[in-house]
Symmetry: C2
Subunit: 319 residues, 2 copies
Amino acid sequence: MPDSLGPALETPLFERIAIIGLGLIGSSIARVARRKNLAGTIVAIDQSLQVRSRVAELGIADEVAASAGDGVRNADLVILCVPVGANASVAKEIGASLKPGSIVSDVGSVKASVVANVVPHLPEGVSFVPAHPVAGTEFSGPDAGFATLFKNRWCILTPPDGTPPDAIARVREFWAAMGSNVEIMTPTHHDLVLGITSHLPHLIAFNIVGTAAALEEGTKSEVIKFSAGGFRDFTRIAASDPTMWRDVFLHNKEAVLEMLDRFNADLNALVKMIKEGDGPGLHDRFSRTRAIRRSIIEQGQETATADFGRLGPDATASQ
Amino acid sequence: MPDSLGPALETPLFERIAIIGLGLIGSSIARVARRKNLAGTIVAIDQSLQVRSRVAELGIADEVAASAGDGVRNADLVILCVPVGANASVAKEIGASLKPGSIVSDVGSVKASVVANVVPHLPEGVSFVPAHPVAGTEFSGPDAGFATLFKNRWCILTPPDGTPPDAIARVREFWAAMGSNVEIMTPTHHDLVLGITSHLPHLIAFNIVGTAAALEEGTKSEVIKFSAGGFRDFTRIAASDPTMWRDVFLHNKEAVLEMLDRFNADLNALVKMIKEGDGPGLHDRFSRTRAIRRSIIEQGQETATADFGRLGPDATASQ
């Protein structure tokens, strides 16, 4: 993966952008916006004093504000980087302060509910172009962000019907400048696809790590000790932000539960094979899964290095 | 993780070792044994002509043999590195050729069934010291092996009652020389602990990747495209060897199904919270899981680098 973000723009894409919520995603956006000159002025808004102080220390924004209502004034682009469940109240708070002709966007992992929660609070003449950068790490907070987070990752835009094409084009340009590949789809379709690629995997990972956490102390310490056998791969995404993920599941219930039904049906079939000693059936199931990983690696969305490269440079990646 | 395996021994631990099955594990053992001078002579036994040719090309053994019965003659240590389901027939094949006073070991991921399947075929005076190196990658075959695979990983020995302490001590010394930390437990306890740390995670990963593989073509290509949202973490262990894993599940049914019952009970509780909109309950569950990852990292069994280091040197690991 190339490290370079390319040259900074000669003219900023937006005169003034306001980022609400300076966590992993918000602070990464600020870093790229600064490094690539995407905004004349970057305003960082966060309700946490600790986060605001840290953002000021890091020097990743031009202005820091505590109040979203004040901070968004005169911004040409406002990006909500808060947990999905907070979007409605933030939208309500900023609605009256938004500049006519400005664009509001977000970075939430669920899109249908965001559209439903934000749109009613926006005044006429303000466009909403929801965005979801499919990127992240297991770390949270302004220190966890970095400028290459979105590089070569997808960013999905889900503009509601009637969004002005010009607003969509400008947000697309913004994310392309972040280094992302931009895709447009409906909010509902987004929620279904991410239900299987992101939400269900997180639910399963939180659950299996939770099952281990609930074991008696002696067994639990053995689980930690011998985790290299597979378990530790689940712990990375199960270390993700609890507030963010609580909101994702509460706001994408239907798609997650539908995908979970499929997962359970498949799991029941596997269990039946194990109980009945159906070796050929198990072998067949376990043979279908390598092709998917190969495709993900071919498309540059994954490392081909053995064991995620955890084993160091001696580990080969021959297949 | 240090790369060095330390200096080679002045005197080999065993005069002659025979490795049966030169896949990821068997070929890695051969590589370390050679580099560290653990054996006077290394005999590589594999039923596949292709594997034998490749082992000869790689130069990781002194002798190559097609027949296990012939290959193990005069060996002081014989290590079975075949899928768990093949142990009984291999043991039967080699039983009559084993040298009195020699030691037989294995590397299987299931231990109670291995003891039951191998011991009856061993002549008097031959000791069985089952071993399980808790290490591996998603790759298979003799090219996938490498000498640092076992470095700083655990190797669990599960000697049956009555095994001579001297034989246990020699196998322990062998694995310590491989760079592993050696632990001794009963076969049954091993199968329970690995059921949760390794077998259940593989079952879940195979299953979720299988669910995605079964989706209609359009959705499947979107799953691959947007896999960075979490899904791709599951694909690594779901790319593991199908034959090995078929055998693991068939030979550790009870412990796997018991752990799966706990997993399902926990999952049902999570689903109930999602359906009922129990935000505090979900947040509480998702908050318990970070501590486990922290412990795994502290014990040197995992990298602290964000996103397994896939994002490159810019990614921070601040929490």
